[in-house]
């Protein structure tokens, strides 16, 4: 397995604040004054600018071998795009080296370098040349590009007369037919209407398959899990984790879930209008069980029955006469998948168990947010979030449905010929 990209100790420093915004004369005068001071003191004072330094990336080392697809994940501002810019030679790192073995093309944004006065045809050649293709190469791909874009009728019209959608379609089509050996993709590349977007995603998958190696930047964890074997998680410019996608992705989801939950809790509280909804009760502990192997807070994806148990402590001295318990299950992004509301009856202060049985829970592997709300006369009195979150583990023996979608159902397809009447 030969190495395709080898990054060693990459760091990138930016200067924040005034440093770059000073006028020329200020710059010069500041330097002169500093120089004179040093002369007066007779020694060299070190330049003081460390407080304004900002390390967008710090000591990033990794490598990709042939056949691997790397996902780079992380929140906005984690340094993902800076890293991509360094890999694709757009900006120079402050320290470190990158060795790239093979023709690399980065599709960070499509349509840059199009000239409005030029026809679609001319722009295909111009854009192709910018991305490193020879005229001959472009001519070979020309028909496929036009075909993919679906703009054959307008190919000799100046692109300034294109609609935004047409423009983006043409741009993506050029970018998608470069056939580089190493490709850097940004998922936001998928453009246009739903049908064309689907086409884009399929093409992205093809590109990844055709090439020697690929780097994908994505926020859609489903895509990351399905397309990439290895995953690099960046946080504040440092490698938080690097390894097999499954491990890194679930850790990342766990981390982001906390933030989503915090937001979610706040939102719920605001909606309910109760300032401290958790004041009346606390969730002491919770567990989940299924017939298939399960650990306290995780289950394995399967068809088996699932039982949730919540140990709730109602504040001493309080009493709920017509209580209801609302259970809700949301995915890591906070999308509510399922809710269930049932009567609690009359409960008094102290601990009690609430058990919820589900005949099956067809979830894809990942992190899920579980929460309970206690209501009294349809007014929420306590919001209880289950920590840690529910983890659904991958089941090797269990038939997986496709990678898209939220549910994991063992569907079966059969085909029959309709008999002629």
């Amino acid at each position: 397995m030969s190495v395709v990209i080898q990054a060693h100790n990459i760091s990138k420093r930016f200067f924040l604040g005034e440093r770059n915004q000073r006028a020329f004369f200020e710059d010069v005068s500041v330097k002169v004054i500093r120089g004179l001071r040093q002369l007066a003191r007779g020694r060299l004072a070190p330049e003081q600018n460390s407080s304004r330094d900002f390390w967008a990336l710090k000591d990033i080392s990794f490598q990709i071998s042939q056949g691997q697809t790397l996902a780079i994940i992380g929140e906005n501002g984690a340094g993902k795009s800076t890293l991509l810019k360094i890999l694709s030679r757009i900006t120079r790192p402050t320290t470190g080296t990158v060795k790239v073995y093979g023709r690399l093309a980065s599709l960070l944004e499509v349509g840059t370098g199009f000239h409005p006065e030029f026809s679609g045809r001319d722009n295909i050649f111009l854009n192709g040349a910018m991305l490193g293709l020879s005229r001959k190469d472009v001519r070979k791909r020309f028909d496929r590009i036009v075909d993919f874009s679906g703009l054959a009728k307008f190919i000799d019209v100046p692109v300034k007369n294109y609609s935004t959608g047409m423009y983006m379609r043409l741009a993506f089509s050029v970018a998608a037919h470069l056939n580089p050996e190493i490709v850097i993709l940004d998922e936001v590349l998928a453009v246009g209407d739903t049908v064309f977007q689907k086409k884009c995603f399929d093409r992205l998958e093809e590109i990844i398959e055709e090439g020697h190696a690929a780097i994908l930047v994505s926020h859609g964890m489903a895509h990351v899990r399905s397309l990439c074997q290895i995953c690099l998680w960046l946080k504040d410019g440092r490698i938080q984790m690097f390894g097999p996608t499954d491990e890194v992705a679930s850790c990342y989801e766990k981390a982001t879930t906390h933030e989503v939950v915090a937001h979610y809790e706040k939102q719920t509280a605001e909606q309910d209008g109760s300032a401290h909804p958790s004041a009346m009760a606390v969730l002491v502990q919770w567990s989940v069980q299924s017939k298939e192997a399960s650990v306290t807070h995780s289950i394995i994806a399967s068809q088996a029955e699932v039982t949730f148990r919540f140990e709730i402590e109602l504040n001493p001295g309080t009493e709920i006469s017509h209580g209801r318990l609302s259970f809700s299950l949301a995915d890591a992004q906070g999308l509510i998948l399922f809710t269930h509301q049932d009567g609690l009856g009359q409960i008094k202060g102290g601990k009690f168990w609430a058990t919820l049985e589900l005949p099956f829970l067809p979830l894809k592997p990942g992190e899920y947010i579980v929460s309970c709300t206690i209501l009294e006369a349809d007014h929420p009195v306590a919001f209880l979030r289950a920590t840690p979150e529910l983890t659904v583990l991958k089941n090797e023996s269990f038939a997986q449905s496709g990678y898209h979608g939220l549910l994991n159902l063992p569907a079966r397809l059969s085909v029959e010929r309709v008999p002629h009447p």
Partner: protein, 305 residues
């Protein structure tokens, strides 16, 4: 972090292999490219050559774009020098009574203006490379020097067009009985033009690198170029310069180049070779410095502009 090796997933190397000095058991291959924080030049000459088709397309793009959606189209290239020549004839020849050697004033000024336009347009366009192409530079990698090269080439094509018009004007004068001699010295013309292009490239690159930090330099460039023209023998011959100011001309490579250019065309002024050699040396130094500055700036300009 625990790793569970599985049959499906390729093994993930967490320790960079170069630490152990092996390359997956294979003999080391030469990288296609290396990004190194310590090295300045990423635009390798080999890279520039690989992107020669982009260069041609960019020249074509800039050239064609000028013609589209304009009233006069390509005529602009010919109207502008003629108008400027007319003004110069009135102001400098008729009012200020500056000599124009043996040449008719129109030929003298027109020849000077078109070559000065070539130089000054090239320089100012190269100087604004990072500002005008910044959006593309931020998204796509190609050797950045391609852009200055294509801009100079585009201006050169314009100049050739204008030169042909100049020959038309010369033919007209010859026809009406003026004595304008063209000589074999015209063969040296490409050398002089190359000198000018190199100077425009070098200075333009230095300014381009500086604009990364100080954006308003471009305004200064336009202004300075205007003043520079008056010191560069465009509107008067060397013979009109008083003796005590002559050494100053030696410091201005463009004065020497414009003079050499005219003498290549018309064989009228007698030039000694010495100032041309000095000017060429200055130019080469500036060009090397310029390309160095440019290469240094191209790696970091996205961080500041």
């Amino acid at each position: 972090m625990a790793q569970t090796p599985s049959a499906k997933q390729p093994r993930v190397e967490l320790v960079p292999e170069f630490a152990t000095g092996t390359n997956g058991g294979l003999p080391p291959v030469k990288p296609t490219y290396v990004v190194d924080a310590e090295k300045i030049l990423s635009s390798h000459p080999k890279d520039l050559w690989a992107f020669r088709e982009l260069y041609l397309l960019l020249v074509k793009r800039d050239f064609v774009a000028v013609y589209k959606q304009t009233v006069l189209g390509p005529l602009w290239f010919f109207v502008q020098p003629f108008l400027a020549s007319l003004v110069f004839i009135v102001v400098f020849s008729q009012i200020a009574r500056l000599p124009t050697t043996d040449l008719p004033p129109l030929v003298f000024y027109l020849s000077g203006i078109i070559v000065w336009n070539f130089f000054s347009n090239s320089l100012s366009q190269v100087a604004s490379t990072f500002l005008s192409s910044g959006a593309i530079f931020r998204k796509i990698y190609f050797p950045r020097l391609i852009v200055p090269f294509s801009q100079i080439s585009m201006n050169f094509l314009n100049f050739i067009g204008q030169l042909l018009v100049l020959f038309g004007v010369i033919a007209f004068y010859k026809f009406s009985g003026h004595r304008i001699e063209l000589s074999l010295k015209i063969l040296a013309l490409p050398l002089v033009l190359a000198d000018m292009a190199l100077l425009a490239l070098g200075l333009g690159c230095i300014i381009a690198a500086a604009t990364v930090k100080y954006r308003d330099l471009n305004i200064v460039v336009g202004y300075t170029l205007n003043l520079w023209m008056y010191c560069s023998l465009v509107i008067y011959p060397r013979s009109a310069v008083p003796a005590h100011l002559q050494p100053l001309l030696g410091l201005n490579p463009m004065a020497s180049f414009v003079e050499s250019y005219r003498s290549c065309l018309f064989d009228t002024e007698h030039t000694t070779v010495q100032p041309a050699i000095v000017a060429t040396l200055i130019t080469v130094v500036i060009a090397i410095l310029g390309i160095w500055c440019f290469a240094k700036a191209e790696g970091t300009f996205t961080d500041t502009i």
